[in-house]
C-alpha cells in the first residue's frame, strides 16, 4: 500500500513528542532509581521468586481458562443467533470497565465462603476459593477473560465466512474447515487476545487482593509484592520487582509481534 507522506506539522509533532515523553519518563525513573548494586539479591530472594512463580502460574492458568471457555463464548457471541445476545455481551465485558476492587467484592459474594455459589460448594466438597492459588486464578480470569472474548469475537466477525463455504464445497468437514480455514484466518486476533489477556492477568491487583488476599507464597503475586514493599517503606525492593515485571512484559510484547506478524 502506498502511504501518503504527511506534511510536517510542528504543533502535531510537539504534542506527539510530549505524549511519547510522558510514557518514557516513568521507565527512565525505574531504571535510574533501581538499586543496581543489589538488584540480583532482591529478585533472587525467596519471597520475590515465590511471587514471580505465583504470578506466572496464575496468569498462564487464567490465559488457558480464557482460551478454553472464552473461545466458545466469543464464537457464540459472533455467530450465535439468540435473544439476549447484546445483554450477554454487555455482561461478559463489564469486568473490563468495572473497577477491579469492585470485581473482587462481587467475586467474594459469589464464590466466597459465604457466597451464593461458594457456600454450597464448600459444604458439598470442602473446596473454598478465597486465600488460595485457585482464588487468584479466578480473580485474574474474571478481569482478564473479557479482553480475550472481545478480541476473538471481533476477529470472528470480520473474517469472510464464505471462505468456510468454499472449504465445505471442496469437501472439508467441520473440523477441517475450522483447523485449516477459520483458525488461520482469525490467528492474529487470537494471538492478540491471548497476549492482552495474559498481560492483564499478570498485572491484576485489585480483584486479587480483595478476593484471594495477600498471603506470601500462597496468593501474593508480583503486583501485590510490589505494593506491599512500597507501602512498608522498602522502595528499593519495590523498584527491583517492578523492573522484573517490565522485562517480562517487554519480552511478551516482542513475542506477540513476531507471531501475529502485525504492526
Amino acid at each position: 500500500m502506498d502511504q501518503q507522506k504527511q506534511p510536517f506539522n510542528p504543533l502535531l509533532a510537539v504534542l506527539a513528542a510530549l505524549a511519547a515523553l510522558f510514557f518514557v519518563f516513568p521507565l527512565i525513573g525505574l531504571i535510574t532509581g533501581a538499586p543496581w548494586g543489589h538488584v540480583t539479591d532482591i529478585i533472587t530472594s525467596k519471597s520475590a521468586l515465590d511471587a514471580l512463580k505465583l504470578s506466572i502460574i496464575a496468569s498462564l492458568s487464567s490465559t488457558v481458562i480464557a482460551l478454553l471457555f472464552g473461545f466458545p463464548l466469543a464464537w457464540l457471541l459472533a455467530r450465535g443467533n439468540f435473544r439476549g445476545k447484546g445483554l450477554l455481551r454487555g455482561l461478559t465485558t463489564l469486568p473490563m470497565v468495572l473497577p477491579p476492587v469492585v470485581g473482587g467484592i462481587a467475586l467474594l459474594l459469589a464464590y466466597g465462603r459465604r457466597g451464593i455459589i461458594g457456600e454450597p460448594l464448600d459444604k458439598a466438597t470442602g473446596i473454598s476459593l478465597p486465600f488460595t492459588l485457585a482464588g487468584v486464578i479466578v480473580a485474574e480470569s474474571f478481569v482478564a477473560m473479557p479482553f480475550f472474548v472481545l478480541t476473538v469475537e471481533s476477529g470472528l466477525r470480520s473474517m469472510n465466512r464464505r471462505l468456510e463455504d468454499a472449504a465445505r464445497s471442496l469437501g472439508a468437514g467441520r473440523l477441517m474447515v475450522f483447523r485449516r480455514v477459520t483458525l488461520p484466518l482469525i490467528w492474529p486476533s487470537l494471538a492478540a487476545g491471548t497476549v492482552l489477556t495474559w498481560a492483564r492477568a499478570l498485572g491484576e491487583f485489585g480483584a486479587t487482593i480483595t478476593f484471594a488476599g495477600n498471603l506470601p507464597g500462597k496468593t501474593q503475586t508480583m503486583p501485590l509484592a510490589v505494593y506491599i514493599s512500597q507501602s512498608s517503606g522498602k522502595m528499593e525492593e519495590a523498584i527491583a520487582l517492578s523492573l522484573v515485571l517490565v522485562v517480562v512484559s517487554l519480552v511478551v510484547m516482542i513475542f506477540r509481534r513476531r507471531i501475529a506478524g502485525s504492526d
Binding site: 469472510n160 464464505r162 471462505l163 463455504d165 468454499a166 472449504a167 465445505r168 464445497s169 471442496l170 469437501g171 472439508a172 468437514g173 477441517m176 485449516r180 480455514v181 488461520p184 484466518l185 490467528w187
Partner: protein, 349 residues
C-alpha cells in the same frame, strides 16, 4: 448427469426451477441480477436447504426433503467456482488447489502432485508458491478454476466465472475456460448474466427470471427466438407480442403489422433494429408497416445509433451516425418507422 428440481423460498425470491444437465454438457444459466442463479448453485452445492424438489447426480440422491435426504456439501462430488473466487488468503496457490484433494483424503504427496499438474494445465506453473493476494485478477480466476477442477467433480458449477475480469483478460480466460469445459466429462453449469459468455461457452441455455425458467434451448435458438424482453434486450432486438390472423399481426397494446409468413393465434414477433428504416415524413407509396411515433431515446451503440420511437407499437431502429444530423434526431419529435414484412420473424410463444 444432473437431474435437479429445486424449490426454495428466500425473503426476496421464490425459486422453483427444474432442469437436467448431461455429463459433458455445458448449461448456461442466464438471468438478470436477483433472478435466482447464484441461489440455484448454492442449493446444488448443499449450502442452502431445499423446501421441495429433488437433486439427483449420477443416480445418487443428494437432496430430497420429502425423504429427509440431505447430503452435506463436503460429501458431494461437486466443484464450485465462486464469482469472487474465495481463494484462501493464507494458503499458497498450490495449497489452495490441493485443499480439496486433502479434504477428500488424498495423501499429501499425491495431492501436491495432482495440484501441480492442474496448475500447469491452466498455465500457472510459476505461481505455485504465490499467495492469492499477490496475483492479478486473471491469475486468481485460473487458480479458482484449478481448485474447482482438481477433484474431478461430477458436477462443475461456475458462478459468473468471468464477471470480475477486465475486458482485455476476459477474452483469453474465456478461451481457456472453453477449452477446459470441452474436455470436462462432468455435468457443467455456468451462471452468467453476460449473453456472450452464455453463447460462447454454453451448449444449452436456461433463462431464468424471478426464480422461474422462462426459456431453454441452444444459444442459437434462444437468441433467434427470445421469449422474454430480458433476452430480447440482451440480444438487442425488438420483441413484440400479439395475435396472428394469417399474415396480419394484432400487436398487444395496439398496432397492426403485416408479415410474410401466415400464422394463427398468440405469437411473438422479432424485428432486428437494422431492419427498421426511419424518415421524418411519411414515406411515399408504401402503405404497409409504416407508422409514426415520438422519439424517446437516441443511443450510440458501437458505430451505430439506436433510436427508440413510442408509436403503436413502440420500436427501436438502428441508423448510421450520419442520420442523427440529417434527420435531426436530437430534436425529438415525430419519426416514421417502416418495416418490410419479410423482416418480421413470427413464432409461437
Amino acid at each position: 448427469m444432473l437431474d435437479a428440481d429445486i424449490q426454495l423460498r428466500l425473503s426476496r425470491l421464490n425459486l422453483d426451477i427444474a432442469f437436467t444437465v448431461e455429463a459433458g454438457e455445458v448449461v448456461a444459466l442466464l438471468g438478470p441480477n436477483g433472478s435466482g442463479k447464484s441461489t440455484t448453485l448454492r442449493a446444488l452445492v448443499g449450502l442452502l436447504p431445499l423446501a421441495g424438489g429433488r437433486i439427483v447426480l449420477d443416480g445418487t440422491v443428494l437432496d430430497d426433503p420429502a425423504q429427509h435426504v440431505k447430503i452435506p456439501p463436503e460429501k458431494r462430488p461437486i466443484g464450485l467456482m465462486f464469482q469472487d473466487y474465495l481463494l484462501f488468503p493464507h494458503l499458497s496457490t498450490l495449497e489452495n488447489v490441493a485443499f480439496g484433494l486433502r479434504a477428500k483424503g488424498t495423501d499429501k504427496k499425491a495431492a501436491r502432485d495432482k495440484a501441480s499438474q492442474t496448475l500447469a494445465r491452466l498455465g500457472l506453473e510459476g505461481l505455485a508458491e504465490a499467495k492469492p493476494g499477490s496475483m492479478s485478477g486473471g491469475q486468481q480466476q485460473r487458480v479458482a478454476m484449478a481448485r474447482a477442477l482438481v477433484t474431478d467433480p461430477r458436477l462443475l458449477l461456475l458462478d459468473e466465472p468471468l464477471a470480475a475480469l477486465d475486458v482485455s483478460t476476459k477474452t483469453d480466460v474465456r478461451r481457456l475456460l472453453r477449452e477446459v469445459l470441452r474436455q470436462s466429462n462432468a455435468a457443467n453449469v455456468l451462471v452468467t448474466h453476460d449473453l456472450l459468455d452464455a453463447v460462447a461457452l454454453g451448449d444449452r441455455m436456461i433463462v431464468i427470471q424471478d426464480g422461474e425458467v422462462v426459456q431453454t434451448g441452444t444459444p442459437a435458438e434462444v437468441t433467434a427466438r427470445p421469449r422474454s424482453s430480458y433476452v430480447a434486450d440482451l440480444v438487442g432486438v425488438n420483441l413484440l407480442r400479439g395475435t396472428a390472423h394469417g399474415t396480419i399481426l394484432d400487436i398487444d397494446g395496439g398496432g397492426k403489422l403485416t408479415c410474410a409468413e401466415p400464422a394463427t393465434g398468440p405469437v411473438l414477433a422479432v424485428i432486428a433494429p437494422a431492419a427498421v428504416s426511419v424518415s421524418r415524413q411519411r414515406p411515399e407509396g408504401s402503405g404497409e408497416n409504416t407508422w409514426p411515433g415520438q422519439i424517446s431515446a437516441v443511443d450510440l451503440m458501437g458505430d451505430r445509433v439506436r433510436v427508440r420511437t413510442e408509436g403503436t407499437p413502440a420500436i427501436t431502429a438502428e441508423v448510421p451516425p450520419a442520420a442523427v444530423d440529417q434527420l435531426k434526431l436530437d430534436d425529438g419529435g415525430e419519426l416514421w418507422a417502416c418495416v418490410s414484412p419479410a423482416a418480421i420473424t413470427v413464432y409461437p410463444p
